[in-house]
């Protein structure tokens, strides 16, 4: 990471903190929002032009700026046109977009990791391997650039949290503009718990499978011998990825189902609280991206929103004289008695 980019990220992180602080005071709130926006702008521009991985800058600028342009135009128009009364549903919609973004990032990175090629700088790779040999007396090729279980875990977390937030926000948005009706059935919270358990099991199974493949030597990497002394080489995984792939997409589907089921039974009046909760979820999903890319601004921004959003959710509940548990679970009871 170049020094200038590090500085851009530092500025970004600071503006997020200052922005949040100013947003919690009526006198400075508007300025705080603008400061955070400016920091975000710096971080985005810095990433586009300065980010490099293995000494390679980003490319695909056509696609990149196309996407940024479309997103900006649609975002500004939608935000400007929306009626004042419809603002909370707009926030929910945008929150869902953020969750979907985290979900898509996880899918692409998973595909890279499980099915694609990994580019490794051979010089650093040999150095790591020699370092390992000195330490342990042998060389484990698979571990030369890290056991991938940690990476899979972060990708999975980003996927699950991002897609729950996406699906949940979409339902919340539909509820607020009256397109989706409250829906619950007896024992729904038990079904929800089962779905949640299934997500955890599928995710854990995937991680265990990855771990076994890599510790069993099955998951070693092959490569044609590199031509130049220290080029970047592409490694092709030999691991059997059918099971990993299936489990990954099962987890994705279940997470979306869970997101829908989670918000479905909650009444319209409690929606702001739920949106705030999903908001903090998306923050955590963004922070997973920060871990994945070793990116400090994503990490601080995401975690800040995650923790601030959670506290805000609790504060909102208190302002409504309810407890969070009451909002999330109580609705089932209320529905059951009224039905």
């Amino acid at each position: 990471m170049s020094g200038l980019l590090t500085l851009a990220y530092l500025i970004g992180s600071i503006t997020f903190i200052v922005g949040l602080k100013m947003l919690s005071n009526p006198a400075s709130a508007r300025k705080g929002n603008l400061i955070a926006a400016a920091g975000m702008f710096i971080a985005i521009i810095g990433t586009i032009f300065l980010y490099e991985e293995n000494g390679e800058r980003l490319h695909n600028f056509g696609w990149l700026f196309g996407g940024l342009f479309i997103g900006t135009v649609v975002g500004v128009l939608a935000a400007k046109k929306v009626k004042m009364t419809a603002m909370p549903e707009m926030v929910s919609l945008f929150n869902g977009m953020g969750g979907a973004c985290a979900m898509l990032i996880s899918i692409v990175e998973f595909d890279h990791l499980a099915n694609g090629h990994i580019t490794v700088n051979i010089g650093k790779f040999i150095q790591d391997a020699i370092g390992q040999a000195a330490q342990h007396g042998d060389i484990n090729i698979g571990a030369g650039f890290g056991n991938p279980v940690g990476k899979y875990l972060i990708i999975l977390l980003g996927l699950i949290i991002g897609s729950v937030s996406f699906a949940g926000s979409m339902v919340a948005w539909g509820k607020l503009n009256g397109k989706v009706k409250d829906f619950s059935f007896n024992g729904q919270h038990i079904v929800n718990l089962i779905v949640l358990a299934a997500i955890v099991i599928a995710g854990a199974w995937l991680l265990i499978d990855v771990h076994q493949q890599f510790s069993g030597g099955n998951g070693s990497w092959t490569s044609n011998p590199p031509a130049a002394p220290f080029p970047n080489i592409e490694l092709q995984s030999m691991a059997d990825t059918t099971l990993i792939n299936t489990l990954f997409y099962v987890t994705l589907a279940l997470s979306i189902v869970y997101g829908v089921m989670f918000v479905m039974p909650i009444g319209g009046a409690d929606m702001p609280v739920v949106i705030s909760l999903l908001n903090s979820f998306t923050g955590v999903a963004a922070a997973c991206g920060g871990f994945l890319y070793n990116n400090p601004v994503m990490l601080t921004g995401g975690i800040l929103v995650g923790s601030a959003g959670t506290i805000l959710t609790i504060l909102m509940c208190k302002a409504m004289n309810r407890s969070l548990k009451n909002v999330l679970i109580g609705s089932f009871g209320a529905k059951a008695t009224s039905a």
């Binding site: 603008l34 991985e53 696609w63 996407g67 999903a285 601080t300 959003g309």
Partner: protein, 102 residues
Amino acid sequence: MTAILDFLQLHIEMVYIVILSIFLGIEVISRVPSVLHTPLMSGANAIHGVVIIGAIIVMGKAEADNWLALVLGFLAVILGTLNVVGGFVVTDRMLEMFKKKK
């Protein structure tokens, strides 16, 4: 167990950032008046749009023949931008409304 310890050691800086950020986030907004709840939620919503940076990285390093990465990355960039730009503009409009009321 050793795997967990290794992971901790490898990412210790990030773990520290996470822990400190959690407390910072709690501290920073703990005394927000209830009128500002919705704008603050909206502002936080815009800030977690930093996820766009991940989308930019995915998009920017996608190989020209990897259509999955190209298409999903492109979608992710659009959605992330929507989150950031829309989030900040909506927050600004909400806060503008506040001023007029006074």
